[in-house]
């Protein structure tokens, strides 16, 4: 039994499939990164997993439980953090957590203990009595993580958890995610920031136009592109407009021209610019993804 299993998940809005037959699974204690540009269907996929919207087709199983048949049991097993978390602004952080804790059927001493633990964990203990309306977005995101962890869920769904917060806030939230990763939670994180995902994910899925175009560990994805995508650095201190061969992408960085091509062009480049100025390197994950997005 896998903590997260998704099969042919489909959601159609106005006749257009925003999530189209998406299938993936996440093993226990894994961090799965769902990547994709804006509008790729990441949030819709996470919302369907959280039971916030209903799919037109497909099945979702969390800890072996079908979301359609046991929605409340599934919801009790997941924690959900989303971009720009919102709370009741007129209530304090402490009161908000207590309210949401009760929704998860936590009560009495356990609720008080968990609320205190979580407020300390997200470093909001000193601000616990302050009205949430006066919190910064970063503080709200941290409170959101506290709310998502209050009932000790085994599966965490994080949808752009660092969206809309400043650099300091991003670092704090990232630290919290690293910490959660070490706590044996199964995490599904959606983001359009590859750097953020690459650092913490065991495997990655790339969504484009609602379709999952690739799934795998970052290294596997990079290796799968060997012989398909080629990257060269041409050490010429002027931007080159014409390489004499067909390239997928070119850009000028510092004193070098970086070229991506879908066929090996090292010999053509060496002939034109000199062999000592041309260097073949592995494409980065970001370049691989951008190439994939362009090619699908």
């Amino acid at each position: 039994m896998l903590p997260i299993e998704v099969e042919n998940l489909t959601k159609v809005y106005d006749g257009r499939a925003v999530v189209d037959r998406v299938t993936f699974s996440v093993p226990q204690r894994h961090v799965f990164g769902l990547l994709g540009p804006n509008g790729a269907g990441k949030t819709t996929t996470i919302k369907m997993l959280a039971g916030l919207i209903r799919p037109q087709a497909g099945t979702t199983r969390i800890l072996g439980m079908d979301l359609t048949h046991r929605p409340l049991a599934v919801k009790a097993a997941i924690g959900h953090v989303y971009a720009n978390m919102a709370f009741y602004p007129q209530m304090s952080g402490l009161d908000n957590l207590t309210f949401f804790g009760r929704l998860y059927r936590i009560g009495g001493k356990r609720l008080r203990r968990r609320v205190c633990e979580m407020l300390r964990f997200v470093r909001l203990w000193d601000e616990r009595k302050k009205r949430v309306g006066k919190y910064s977005q970063g503080m709200k995101q941290r409170l959101g993580i506290a709310r998502a962890l209050l009932h000790e869920p085994s599966v965490l769904l994080l949808d752009e958890p660092t969206s809309g917060i400043d650099v300091q806030g991003i670092n704090t939230v990232r630290d919290l995610i690293y910490h959660l990763r070490s706590q044996d939670k199964t995490i599904l994180i959606a983001s359009h920031q590859l750097g953020e995902i690459e650092l913490i994910s065991d495997s990655i899925g790339l969504l484009k136009g609602g379709r999952l175009i690739t799934v795998g560990a970052p290294q596997e994805i990079k290796e799968s592109l060997r012989g398909v995508l080629h990257k060269y650095v041409v050490h010429v201190s002027q931007p080159i407009e014409d390489f004499g061969v067909e390239v997928v992408q070119r850009r000028f960085v510092k004193d070098s021209n970086i070229v991506l091509a879908s066929a090996p062009i090292e010999s053509e480049l060496a002939e034109r610019f000199g062999a000592d100025l041309v260097e073949a390197v592995d494409p980065t994950l970001e370049e691989a993804f951008l190439w994939m997005l362009g090619n699908n």
Binding site: L52, L72, K75, N84, F87, Y88, Q90, R102, G144, R147
Partner: protein, 384 residues
């Protein structure tokens, strides 16, 4: 169950703690106070008018009394005061006279209080936190609707209590235990009435998913209710039948009544009560008078039921009818105006008053239930 009750309490508290709540109470107090002062003045004028017209002693305080007169006198009264049917005193008079404006204002208040609830949660993202929790969306929705309705009823109660206490002190209103019970009962019905509009507001908020659109839609519904009421009332008045006038008694009849000392009481005897010395002219006139009374009675009764049915089309009118029955001390509806009513006839019991308006109460309850069910259905299918 405990969790549901807690949720209801939470939503009620949330509604009460908002700034809108205070504004709401202030509005009610202001409206009722203005109404009470105007009403007190109006009743004083009516009392003065009664003294001039009838020569009866001025009724004390804001009281209009019913004269027990002859059949034709009562028919005449009926033509003028068919729908003035009930005569409340003290605190009930204040409530009845001032609540007419509340009937129009409360739909707006209910609609606007609920208009932003769900849509704002959807817009802010709070809905995601709520609906991702292991609570059925319908349970959350029901708790919200009950919480909002309870808190609004409480606000109406507090507003009216403050207004009645202060206004009552200003115009020196009397209050008895029964009047207080009737007032509380009526305020509770006002709460249900307002919650009908809260449910409509909730429905619009959940369906439109945008605070701005929802507020405009609620204002439109409120205006529609108001316009419907105005148009309905005017149409009703325009189609009001004109009653035939009382046949003028011939000289011989007047002489007969004078001889038999019947002018002082104003009560015309029935044909069976006539003494042996009555002439055929007197007999004929009395028969004509009874036929006339029957005609007017039928017309009044038909008109009365027409008005009752109209209450189903206009919720404002329905609550006005309920107020008319519940906020009374003596005398009942128009059809009974022909029955001899002793001057100190005790008021109908609260149960009787409620029974008289069962169609309106049932109608309101059915509408409330239907809207509640529709809300639950929409909310349980809502996507956050």
């Amino acid at each position: 169950m405990t969790r549901f009750i807690r949720l209801v309490g939470f939503f009620a508290k949330k509604q009460l703690s908002g700034g809108t709540a205070l504004l709401f109470v202030a509005l009610i107090v202001l409206l009722v106070l203005v109404g009470m002062l105007t009403g007190a003045r109006m009743l004083k004028d009516i009392s003065r008018g009664l003294v001039q017209d009838l020569g009866t002693p001025a009724p004390s305080g804001p009281v209009v009394s019913v004269d027990v007169g002859s059949v034709h006198r009562q028919v005449w009264d009926a033509t003028n005061a068919t729908y003035w049917g009930t005569y409340p005193v003290g605190i009930l008079a204040a409530l009845r006279l001032t609540s007419r404006w509340l009937f129009i204002v409360l739909p707006f208040v209910g609609l606007l209080l609920a208009s932003r609830g769900i849509s704002q949660e959807l817009e802010s993202g709070l809905a995601q936190s709520l609906y991702v929790s292991p609570v059925r969306p319908s349970t959350l929705g029901m708790a919200r609707m009950l919480g909002d309705s309870l808190s609004t009823s409480l606000l109406i109660g507090v507003g009216l209590a403050v207004a009645l206490a202060s206004g009552g002190w200003l115009v020196r209103l009397s209050v008895t235990t029964e009047q207080l019970v009737r007032s509380v009962g009526f305020i509770a019905i006002l709460g249900v009435y307002t919650s009908v509009f809260i449910l409509i507001g909730n429905l619009l908020s959940a369906t439109l998913r945008s605070s701005v659109r929802s507020i405009w839609a609620c204002v439109a519904v409120g205006l529609l209710v108001f316009a419907g009421h105005l148009i309905g009332e005017n149409a009703f008045i325009a189609t009001h039948p004109s009653y035939p006038t009382v046949p003028f008694p011939p000289r011989e009849v007047n002489e007969f009544l004078y001889v038999h000392d019947m002018w002082s009481t104003g009560v015309v005897p029935t044909v069976e009560e006539l003494t042996a010395d009555a002439t055929p002219v007197v007999y004929r006139y009395l028969l004509e008078l009874e036929a006339h009374a029957q005609t007017v009675f039928d017309m009044v009764e038909a008109d009365y039921w027409r008005e009752r049915w109209y209450g189903f089309a206009s919720p404002v009118h329905a609550i006005w009818e309920i107020a008319g029955q519940l906020l009374q001390d003596r005398h009942v509806d128009a059809t009974e105006i022909f029955a001899p009513i002793p001057p100190l006839d005790p008021p109908p019991s609260i149960g009787t008053s409620l029974r008289r308006v069962w169609p309106e109460l049932l109608g309101m309850f059915v509408v409330w239930l239907a809207l509640f069910g529709l809300n639950v259905r929409v909310l349980s299918r809502m996507e956050a």
